[in-house]
Symmetry: C2
Subunit: 570 residues, 2 copies
Amino acid sequence: MRTSQYFIATQKETPADAEVISHQLMLRAGLIRKLAAGLYTWLPLGLKVLRKVEQIVREEMNNSGAIEVSMPVMQPAELWQESGRWEQYGPELVRLLDRHQREFCLGPTHEEVITDLLRNEVKSYKQLPLNMYQIQTKVRDEIRPRFGIMRSREFIMKDAYSFHANQDSLAETYQAMHRAYSNIFTRLGLDFRPVIADTGSIGGSASHEFHVLANSGEDDIAFSDSSDYAANVEMAEAIAPAGERPAPGAAMSEVATPDLKTIDEVANYLNVAPAQTVKTLMVAGENEGELVALVLRGDHQLNDIKAEKLEGIANPLQMADEAAVRKVAGAGFGSLGPVGLEVPVIVDRSAAHLADFICGANKDGFHLKSVNWERDCPLSRVEDLRNVVEGDPSPDGKGKLLIKRGIEVGHIFQLGTKYSEAMNANILDENGKSITMIMGCYGIGVSRIVASAIEQNHDQHGITWPIAMAPFELVIVPLNMQKSEAVAQCALELYEAFRQAGVDVLLDDRNERPGVKFADMELIGIPHRLVIGDRALADNQVEYKGRQDADSVLLDRSEAVDNILQKLGH
Amino acid sequence: MRTSQYFIATQKETPADAEVISHQLMLRAGLIRKLAAGLYTWLPLGLKVLRKVEQIVREEMNNSGAIEVSMPVMQPAELWQESGRWEQYGPELVRLLDRHQREFCLGPTHEEVITDLLRNEVKSYKQLPLNMYQIQTKVRDEIRPRFGIMRSREFIMKDAYSFHANQDSLAETYQAMHRAYSNIFTRLGLDFRPVIADTGSIGGSASHEFHVLANSGEDDIAFSDSSDYAANVEMAEAIAPAGERPAPGAAMSEVATPDLKTIDEVANYLNVAPAQTVKTLMVAGENEGELVALVLRGDHQLNDIKAEKLEGIANPLQMADEAAVRKVAGAGFGSLGPVGLEVPVIVDRSAAHLADFICGANKDGFHLKSVNWERDCPLSRVEDLRNVVEGDPSPDGKGKLLIKRGIEVGHIFQLGTKYSEAMNANILDENGKSITMIMGCYGIGVSRIVASAIEQNHDQHGITWPIAMAPFELVIVPLNMQKSEAVAQCALELYEAFRQAGVDVLLDDRNERPGVKFADMELIGIPHRLVIGDRALADNQVEYKGRQDADSVLLDRSEAVDNILQKLGH
């Protein structure tokens, strides 16, 4: 492709309303343009990247045995009423009336449509398993669309749905999808982690999210520095510290801590580390009016999801109000502690490992020192209550945990029978008995991958695409092409040679200053650049620079093609 | 691909609600399934065909210099209000409110969005011409969706929009699109005609439709038997018969024709051909209350579009009511004629060439015989008023016209400044003067092509795809594969050999009777078939049959691959 016949729409200014770097760079490099809030047109360069991602997703899905279909965007309300989602889904679901006043929605996902299709087409376990996918425009009316295509109202998704006669078959396809996703993100050249995810309120038995690691991510991912283990911070198990709890030291004593509100203030005042204190939180119990105390180490954070799943605790989690707390503990939030408390006490594993710790005295303005479990206070129930922190041992026993931010770009999910049961998607099993099909679902945010790749791969000059996603692999920049016959001829010759060799090459034949061309091509992020100029050409040389190289190097003109082909692995 | 790992969903029964053959065959062959009225899921086989069509469209659009983009389906009402279409468009436009009660529509086309994009991005004539296209899901809320994907509510369209600084540039791109479309339909293997089309109420200066010829088409296409000339019947010029008008014979006389209502009845009664009679129609004139008489040969049909474009005639055309006619002519509809009429008379070219003709006497129950223009009745205005008929001379002077039915699958249009003017899409010209961009638009009904190809290519067994559109090029059908080691081995060997050679090959390894497999593969329409059976294999032979061959032939197993590759042109 020649830039003169293409559509290059780079911008110098950083758009004011673009908060994250990928949004800024996608606008500046001319990959997208905004049509309305959360609605973007993909310009030629952006679409080219998107198509490359699509193609890799498609190839790996096909390799995994999944079969491509294409379902409508408009879906009749009836099916959503059958599954129950018509009522459950909030205003993110775009609903509309057709000319005959019949209700439709624009699909954010297609569980109902595919379940309807397969309950009609599949009659016997012999036809299963089936895994069907599509790469398609989805619509979700985000309350606050932002970050460009990262959280837009229209987006491209690969959604797959598998159907099975038994759980083993689902587990097998689930593993195949896990492998396919790993292949996809590996081929795309992204630093990613498949992380154990919460199955949340949808139910279902197993779920992994695939995250691209990037500082701007919205999720905290905990992963081992020496194994494959990775999980959402909310999901990562915090295991008990190694070894025995130290033996008690000095006797427990009360100390006045007037006006000290926070753990840090108390620890500082008493000259101990926050890790040597505990904090006591009160939450609603399972039954109306009951309270339960949760005790964590002072430097740890409560994990709501872990807590609300525990027996005896209200789900969803509700923090107790101070009046209720004062009634049972005799003190306010800043002075609570487990000693002498007359409500059930659940202690986090790490807090339970402490000896000679500090806690509130259940008396406003006082704390207890040298408190020890069992000696001073019963330790009846120990659970995993907290978020993991960096340096925690990995739950799989291998190495320590690191925590980084991640952008969710994929999700695989053992869905079970939620939809197939509601929609009577039954088949006959080996014994001629009617059974409900078991389902899995598997999504990839295809357009979101483009943004997350940029979040992970950029520098001060622009985008630094992984080669598989780059809009072009190579750009040839002739200097002064309009005046120098030699430059023009060399540039065109090389351009043709690379085209013949199947390289996705751009010839920047615009009549612009070299600086403008260099800046544009770095902003756009083309991984390899060849500059053709009169001076080097006099010595039969051309100038090569990789997108992230500090300096350019001279190549013999005659070796340039082979050299670059080698770099590209063609 | 192996059928055992694929999704074959053929049906024996012809679905009751499928009126046209393409709809029936697409359901029976398992290419699509209905989700709701006018909404279809593309099953794997159908999607494979659709993707092949898309790919050819994309390649030829790219070859023509057009650049691919992708615009949102959801479009803000504001842009449509700017162009005026928000008011003009009827209930075919799906309108909806987002969660903030802002108005949107689902795009049936994208003139507004692309014009908005380019008025922001293009500032100078130097950036033009630009031709941008997308291949995308469109939505149109048809009042009566029918014929499957032929007239559905969601469909895939390739829409392109070109922008120019002057008319010459538009004409050039228009020609490039004409060539690209011809290449596309030629590569698809379809019998098609680019036909001169009415530019209708949209305005604009030139327009061609591309029609696939098929008996079930909704449009009548007139085309020359010896040149490229083709036009919608409404648009085809009916030229004057060759030679001079014959000289008058007998004197004009009146004849009673009691109770004879139609041309055929009168002609029959008077023992002349209908072509020797004329009929006189009364229509509203340009000014309130005026009538104009239109005179055509008895065997010809009035062409409304031609008539209403004439000076002096109300546009749109309005037929006069009988009371008004009686008032000026003194007779009712069945007895009108040009002789002595006191309203303006416009005579069709063919009617004007008659001598000694029959016409109404402007007296109920009477006709005139041996009427001659000028001798008996003035001939002041002659125009082209009628539809062409088969056998008419081609308007380009080459050959005679044939008329066949066509299905519109493409449309190219010199749009002019309708949108760019309404939306202030201005640029600076060579002299630094602000001018309005000139536009062209170019559509292809990508999904509709699939249905129209079937309308044109089918037989009693099913679809007979042109090779470029076939879901698979070749099917290998092993007989009794589950029991015969030799058959299984040969089938797998050939399957692998064809795959290696890049053939899109299907291996029908289902455990089904041969008859079922043959019928399925003929219904699906795979162009080439190899049957592997023990008997032929004993002689080292396999059985080949082309989809439309009467009989199969035996091929040496060792030559089968080369032989088929040759047939496929690989």
